[in-house]
Amino acid sequence: MAMNRIRGAFAVPRKGETFELRAGLVSQYAYERKEAIQKTIMAMTLGKDVSALFPDVLKNIATTDLEQKKLVYLYLMNYAKSHPDLCILAVNTFVQDSEDPNPLIRALAIRTMGCIRVDKMIDYMEEPLRKTLRDESPYVRKTAAICVAKLFDLSPAMCLENGFLEMLQEMIGDPNPMVVANSVTALSEIHHAAPETQALQVTPNTLRKLLMALNECTEWGRVTILTTLSEYRTSAVNEAEQICERVAPQFQHANPSVVLAAVKVVFLHMKLVNAELSSNYLKKMAPPLVTLVSSAPEVQYVALRNIDLLLQKQPDILNKELRVFFCKYNDPPYVKFQKLEIMVRIANDRNFDQLLAELKEYALEVDMDFVRRAVKAIGQVAIKIESACEKCVNTLLDLINTKVNYVVQEAIVVIKDIFRKYPGYEGIIPTLCKCIDELDEPNARAALIWIVGEYAEKISNAGDILAGFVEGFNEEFSQTQLQILTAVVKLFLKRPDKAQGLVQKVLQSATAENDNPDVRDRAYVYWRLLSNTSDTSAARNIVLSKKPPIVTTIHSLPPALLEQLLTELSTLASVYHKPPEQFVGQGRFGADAVQKAAIEEQLQNARDNPLAAAAAAAVSGTAAPQQQNNVENLLDIDFDGTAPASAHKEPNGSMSGLEGLAGTPVRVESPAVGAPAPAPTGSNNLDDLLGVFGDNGAASSASASAPPSGGAGADLLNGFGGLDLSGGISSPPPAGASQPKKTNEDILSLF
């Protein structure tokens, strides 16, 4: 199919847009040609395939018009891959341009060359790159520095052989700060892609150079340098002091990302300096953090998520700043929610009055989600600050009196938590019981029932209330059912005379008529306990035992995770509060949408023409640079699985071993074994894992005589379930391609 498409592209249509564009591109008038190029780029943006015009656009590359040149280059970058052999025609122009007297053109040439990802181009890059790295113009040098990273991405071997890394490392000492910043950028990119190169090593000498460049380079360069400094781990106190001292002035930068990067550096290196100095730095970073809260909403959101992290580590840095976090009426919801969480975190016994008044205000707004969170926040404050509790309870009662359904429900859930920490508010129970008919959410119902059971001896009509619930026991959600059970048993233990019949009834319906094993089991446990005649106090001791009071209802991250996230400040990880491995693969080599598309296409091909597809898969597996392709190859395995035996024909290259296994069931297991363990380049990707698991699950369960469930591979569990089976099953691999393809789609839809 792909072949057909390429062939189709070569056929020249006689009319239509492409035809007109082509006419324009070869026009004898320069302005017509330029216009046609612009139109071509426009069509490209709209997603039309204009790759057929490649030769004609290429003819326009030799021009003195800089704007036109840029357009042609832009086109080249996009379509070079579709005509790799024609790219060679452009090489000459690039090489010439890289020696042009005009530095803008030199830079443009070297910048574009790095973006043309064609093997032939790489061969010609070496010389121009070497020259431009030593160019007299800093503008060209800084562009060439980034180009080294591009080259490394394409061909690490060539980059290493030609000593470009060493050249870059020297360039950290460049007199021009922007060249320094870009060299650091390139080195750090290479370092992260391939840690074994040790591309970026911060020595005392480079540290000095970085700190020097920091004050002079552009804002983005500062972010780069600051990020590098934050990754640098020193154990020397004086070094840490020096870093903090030089970085702290950046708190005053106008660019929020510089400020956050600076905060990160100081926060991480502060541990080493003495206590007085570090508390000084904490004081210094508070105002800039607060200022971030008045930036654009999206930046604000990132800042707020980061402030949340910082507060978990240093709870008192923003003690006096509560008011800044008050929500504005037109703040987007994601900002409002985050502000709520932060306000609760900085609440203390001096500012809770203000906070409660504000939270009450929010609880009367109309956005249901926001209102609920506001009510919840009131409860969190009550549990956090003992002296605030009475005020909180009163506020909650006020809110219950508004009779707004969802406010009442949330308030009841919150009050349950308050009861669990502070006994002594039984006086409000009658008010709560009045709204019993309004509760329709299982959470709220369960909370109220829990309260009734807990204070059964003090509520005169507890029996009647619970009787009402027992009546409709089977219609309740199971979490409410569990609470009803417990509450009735508590009532029985406290006032046996009132609940004799009730307890019989509820145990009966829970054990005989209920499908939920949890509910049934709990009912049986209670039944046994209650019918235990040898130790009559056993049930009492267990059911009415003293419960440990809850300490907090504010969500906090586990310390280890928090430490890790603090090193990720201002990155996506800090926004999600998740370690990066959880949501992102290690960068460029992961299976992204491209590969998924490729998989689908290949599977399609496989269905059309199994033999060719297998050959293609085998070739792609062996021809691609081995270093990056461990994971891709693991995926490729599924293709040749669909085309039996034929894959054996090309047992060359390192991956042939795996392909050779295609005919045996063992191969199903091999990717599963390989995938969880980090691949040599560390390039395994969550997607890939899922994809691999899913595929295996599907493959094995399809081949297994007894698949564990109907929708094979439809979810992860099934995938794993299938895996477990795969080891022991020795049936031949599946022949139909439709099954794995379906799985792929399922996996995609998961995201």
Partner: protein
């Protein structure tokens, strides 16, 4: 870092697609359209699907989207997108769908320049405007090797924001102190939050490479040095350069009234190390207009307007308003374009309003009564009385009572009390220069609950 920059219109059509890395595929445009633009559920500006992260901001009627594949620096990504908006505005006046469609070649050119392999490069508007221009003709400059080496020198130099050969016959510098005052007042009339976000915008028309020093009545600064009485005048020409400040009389500052700046942020031309050490604002300004600094003040905020709203809901069919607003500044000053937005319930059918000054009009599309007063002199007080008649609704939902909000601008007044004490210009040729200062206070989010 960034794998690509995409621009969409509101319909989800892809206007600009610029991939910087191999892993940014055209298909991603469709994914963003489906998952974000046509999905009203999405509430976050960041969305990660698989290992692809879309970070977007909305400006006018376009979406600007950054695609990243790794654990990217989210703050940087958003800040960059906003910088792109700023660039677009300064190039095209308005950065919207039409501007993007009409200038897509230029936008590609810009993107090529400000991002390399997904890493932001120089985004200074002034520098970029030297070699990326709207009219194709002017790019002739860039075609000239000597000119362009000069340009590139500037684009990367330590003073990336200034050309070396600036010349003016008359050397002038204008300083605008612009404050946005934010207020949140509760229904009971207590001030929940009052603060000032200020910016100091400078227009420098100075020859050569001038080194400027700038002084404010900042308390921390005044505590540090022993400055004499500042040139506390609210306007007009400041002292010439070389105007030596009197030493000695250190206790006079209380009289001048100093201001505590909670935090300040500076343009990248300001030497931050210097400020950190001794609170001296020292810089080589870019040529023309730029934002020198931003600051925040929270103490002793002078609120220019006091608003006293009384809103009564009468049954379910009528709401009565009585809003009094009083100017709280000297009678010599006057505010312009005072606009008061008074929210009405969603089911308002009709309103009647009476004002003692200005005009009031009901705007059904925004659910509010807009009261405009073109000129509001200091010390005066005006009243609006209004009545909104409501249609009866079967599903009676409580009215959320959004806060009443104010807009105004007031010249020669700073809410924080900030004053410019001096601006000194040092240059090799030692020319004399004229400096002008102007103060303005505007409403930021000036909200009163009722």
């Amino acid at each position: 870092m960034l794998s690509g920059i995409l621009v969409f219109n509101q319909k989800g059509e892809n206007l600009i697609f610029r991939a910087f890395r191999n892993d940014c595929r055209p298909r991603l445009a469709d994914i963003f359209r489906i998952q974000v633009i046509s999905n009203p559920q999405v509430r976050s500006p960041i969305l990660t699907l698989g290992s692809t992260t879309f970070s977007h901001v909305k400006h006018e009627n376009i979406y600007l989207v950054a695609v990243t594949k790794s654990n990217a620096n989210a703050a940087l990504v958003f800040e960059f997108l906003y910088r792109l908006v700023l660039l677009g505005k300064s190039y095209f006046g308005k950065f919207d769908e039409e501007a993007v469609k009409n200038n897509f070649v230029l936008i590609y050119e810009l993107l090529d320049e400000i991002l390399d392999f997904g890493y932001p490069q120089n985004t200074e508007t002034d520098t970029l405007k030297m070699y990326i221009t709207t009219e194709g003709v002017k790019s002739a400059i860039a075609n000239n090797p000597t000119d362009s080496s000069r340009i590139t020198q500037q684009a990367t130099g330590a003073l990336s924001w200034r050309r070396a050969d600036v010349k003016y016959r008359k050397n002038e510098a204008f300083v605008d102190v612009i404050e946005d005052v934010n207020l949140l007042m509760s229904a009971t009339g207590t001030v929940l939050r009052a603060d000032v976000n200020g910016q100091i915008v400078m227009r420098a028309y100075l020859s050569g490479t001038p080194e400027c020093k700038f002084g404010l009545n900042d308390r921390l600064l005044l505590d540090n040095d022993s400055a004499g009485p500042g040139s506390g005048s609210t306007s007009g020409s400041l002292g010439n350069n070389g105007n030596k400040m009197g030493l000695g009389s250190s206790k006079t500052r209380a009289a001048a009234g100093s201001v505590t700046l909670e935090d300040c942020q500076f343009h990248q031309c300001v030497k931050l190390g210097r400020f950190d050490a001794d609170r001296i604002i020292s810089f080589v300004p870019p040529d023309g207009e730029f934002e020198l600094m931003r600051y925040r003040a929270t103490e002793n905020v002078n609120l220019p307007f006091k608003v006293h709203p009384i809103v009564r809901e009468i049954g379910t069919t009528k709401v009565e308003y009585s809003v009094a607003i009083k100017a709280n500044y000297s009678s010599k000053l006057f505010a312009t374009n005072v606009i008061i937005r008074i929210p009405t319930p969603l089911n308002t059918a009709k309103t009647t309003e009476r004002t003692s000054q200005g005009r009031a009009k009901y705007e059904p599309e925004h659910n509010n009564i807009v009261w405009k007063i073109a000129r509001f002199s200091g010390g005066s007080e005006y009243v609006l009385t209004a009545e909104a008649t409501l249609t009866s609704m079967t599903n009676q939902k409580a009215w959320s009572r959004p806060p009443l909000s104010l807009n105004f601008s007031l010249l020669m007044f700073t809410s924080s009390g900030l004053l410019v004490r001096y601006l000194k210009v040092f240059e090799k040729s030692n020319y004399s220069s004229v400096k002008w200062v102007r103060y303005m206070t505007r409403a930021g989010s000036y909200e009163i609950r009722f």
